[in-house]
């Protein structure tokens, strides 16, 4: 530890910044893919359901690492253009984690009580209005806990990019390890760094979840005590809708 100079620490901290960027960009792409594919899988036309299902199966069933190599090395040969390693990595991670995420979206949509859809039909809302005004707002809070899981998976998955030479935490650690000639200190440090990042991510997602639940009239998770319990009890008694909106 004592041998870790300020310069080497600098390498690791730059790596943290790159990892954060990778996570944010891949998550943004992944979330977009997840919503488009997840919603498409509930579409009334079978061809839309089939194509979105096919996408999900293919990208869920292929290794993100191999996909990354493929985008970085094969795509240039096939189409003649070359992505910088950072964007090749974001593309590969976003497309494959988006495939996992689409299942979360689909599951949460399926968990909204069918009666909500019927109430939307009864008021003559169009299918798009039913989706955006009724189904997605109610499915959204259900998506957050599994999405949190997936985000942490994605954060750790970004370590794959180090093999393309992108300077993330893991890449920085390899450099530091070469400089020091020993593995134990630096890998212990980055273990903790990944943990701290994952922990921060979880705190953010908890806050998002509380806000989302308050937005559909479910009391926040914390801080209201007895009142909240009464509310929950009343919900299950009177509206069945929440009790059936279970796991995604």
């Amino acid at each position: 530890m004592t041998d870790l100079t300020a310069g080497l620490w600098g390498l690791l901290l730059e790596g943290v910044w790159v990892t954060v960027q990778l996570t944010v960009f891949s998550a943004a792409l992944g979330a977009f893919v997840a919503f488009v594919v997840g919603v498409a899988r509930t579409h009334r036309l079978w061809i839309v359901r089939f194509l979105s299902g096919l996408y999900m199966e293919i990208f869920r069933g292929t290794s993100a690492l191999v996909l990354m190599f493929w985008i970085f090395f094969v795509l240039p040969m096939a189409f003649g253009w070359q992505l910088v390693p950072m964007w090749a990595a974001v593309l590969a991670l976003g497309l494959s984690y988006g495939a996992y995420g689409s299942e979360i979206v689909r599951g949460a949509l399926a968990a909204v009580a069918p009666a909500q859809q019927e109430a939307g039909i009864a008021l003559s809302f169009s299918p798009w209005q039913r989706l955006t005004k009724i189904l997605l707002p109610q499915a959204w809070p259900e998506m957050i806990p599994p999405a949190n899981n997936l985000l942490i998976e994605l954060l750790k998955g970004t370590a794959l990019v180090s093999v393309l030479g992108v300077g993330d935490i893991t890449f920085g650690a390899a450099l530091v390890r070469n400089a020091l000639g020993e593995s134990a200190p630096v890998y212990t440090i980055i273990l903790v760094m990944y943990f701290i990042l994952a922990f921060l991510l979880t705190r953010v997602m908890r806050a998002v979840e509380r806000k989302a639940k308050a937005g559909i009239g479910q009391a926040p998770e914390k801080g209201v005590g007895v009142l909240r319990k009464l509310n929950i009890r009343q919900q299950t008694e009177t509206s069945g809708d929440f009790s059936s909106a279970g796991g995604a």
Partner: protein, 274 residues
């Protein structure tokens, strides 16, 4: 009350010009099957504008299916349904009747409002928005006008104080009254009521029924009502249809059906529920 109204669903029943007695709902040889189970069997009946019709019968006799057909939640296997002169289940294309598309159904359905057994308010919207959302985004009403309309309806159902609450903060009875206001905000010609008090605690039933009685007696809206509240049915109905095995086996004025039914099945059913 109901005594001064004409009990027949087909005869002209009103002095009010809005109640012109025309056929507002018309089922023509409608058959609905689920697998080999025939839920509605060549059903023909019609409801005149402004009438209050109650459907009674044992569970599984097809009452709720009629409401679900009118709400386009299910499609008939055979026969046609007309609402306000337009085909609901079908549309006319090049002189031929074809199963209706989503857009056509939505247009005809705007004449119909429905109140559900389980209320089905939108939990992600506060009370006011539950009521204004469809008038604004489906009918294209201005926001101010829709809110004005919502406030009047909330006053009518006695919930002005709860305008800014989420459905989960209301009791079942209050939620159901909001659901009634939400359906009426679309100014439908027909209101469908699907066992609207069945999910309520007994002490909350009266409040909801009072609101519905009030609507039945003070407006000319046409009501089609599935209920097990026989006293309510008797109070508001012009006509009662007794269903069994997907057919109307008996129909008539409530006094007649409830006191002196013709059909053995009706007698059995009424003695079981009254």
């Amino acid at each position: 009350m109901s005594a001064e109204k004409n009990p027949s669903t087909t005869a002209n029943g009103g002095t009010n010009p809005a109640v012109d007695g025309s056929e507002l709902i018309k089922f023509d040889n409608v058959t609905k099957r689920y697998g080999s189970n025939v839920v509605l069997d060549n059903l023909c009946f019609d409801v005149s504008s402004g009438k209050h019709v109650t459907l009674i019968g044992p569970s599984g006799s097809g009452k709720t299916t009629i409401l679900r057909l009118l709400m386009t939640l299910v499609k008939p296997d055979e026969g046609t349904i007309k609402v306000a002169g337009d085909y609901l289940s079908h549309e006319e294309k090049n002189g031929k009747l074809v199963p209706a598309g989503e857009r056509h159904q939505r247009e005809v359905r705007k004449n119909i409002g429905m109140v559900f057994q389980q209320f089905n308010l939108f939990p992600n919207m506060k009370v006011l928005r539950n009521i204004t959302e469809a008038p604004v985004h489906v009918l294209g009403l201005g926001k101010d006008e829709a809110e004005q309309r919502a406030r009047e309806l909330l006053e009518m159902v006695g919930l002005t104080d709860h305008i800014d609450k989420y459905p989960s903060q209301l009791s079942g009875g209050q939620q159901q009254r909001v659901a009634i206001a939400r359906a009426l905000a679309m100014r439908p010609q027909v209101l469908l009521l699907d066992e609207v008090t069945s999910a309520l605690d007994p002490e909350l039933v009266a409040g909801v029924l009072d609101v519905l009685r009030d609507i039945a007696h003070s407006t000319d809206i046409t009501m089609l009502c599935v209920t097990h509240e026989m006293n309510f049915a008797r109070d508001i109905s012009d006509d009662v249809l007794m269903f069994d095995a997907g057919r109307v086996i008996e129909s008539g004025a409530p006094e007649k059906i409830f006191t002196d039914p013709e059909h053995e099945r009706t007698r059995e059913f009424l003695s079981a529920v009254l």
